[in-house]
Symmetry: C2
Subunit: 113 residues, 2 copies
């Protein structure tokens, strides 16, 4: 059994275009023996955002702290602490911190389809 | 995109032996198009516990609220809010609420190996 407080896991800065003030921690990965899906924790500063993009894998998201909106190509929707969000594969999506505090959410992704 | 506050999802009582005061919400499932893994939120009252058991699939757990311990056949380990726990397939495990408040955690499981 792996057991760790999320703050003990390195806070990495993704090297990706179209992002602002986004960092993440890979909490549970293949290195731990997790073959099917990975658990990441995102931390986005006030005003920061993930890229508006699409890809063929899904996201399973749970909002831990903070406020923000999800955007696609047609509009946006507010989310709050305690929300679960499912982004199917190939759907456009962006997570934006519109609050004053750091936004923290879990975002899990599959290792295979 | 599915987007729901976890309290909007039905709180179900699992029909399982060896449990006490455990309920769960299936937040993201196959019905939403999630083919690879499911997100559940467990709510365990003070003094409650999941069964001490094993199975061939893994758990990816994140503690949202409350305090407790994980137990296997040899001992126990304390966890707290903000902890990530990975239980590999076939490992014995039990989650016990040893605090005074309701324990809430996410527990994700694969749909296939």
């Amino acid at each position: 059994m792996k057991h760790v407080h999320h703050t003990e896991v390195e806070l990495e800065e993704p090297d990706e275009q179209g992002i602002k003030d986004v960092k993440l921690r890979w909490l549970i990965t293949k290195k731990d023996g997790a073959k099917n899906f990975a658990m990441r924790l995102f931390e986005i500063k006030a005003g920061g955002y993930t890229p508006l993009h699409q890809h063929d894998w899904e996201h399973e998201v749970f909002i831990l702290e903070g406020n923000g909106v999800t955007r696609d190509k047609t509009g946006e929707e507010t989310f709050e602490k305690g929300d679960a969000i499912f982004v199917p594969g190939m759907e456009w999506h962006q997570f934006v911190n519109t609050g004053k505090e750091t936004l923290k959410f879990l975002c899990l992704i599959p290792y295979k389809e």
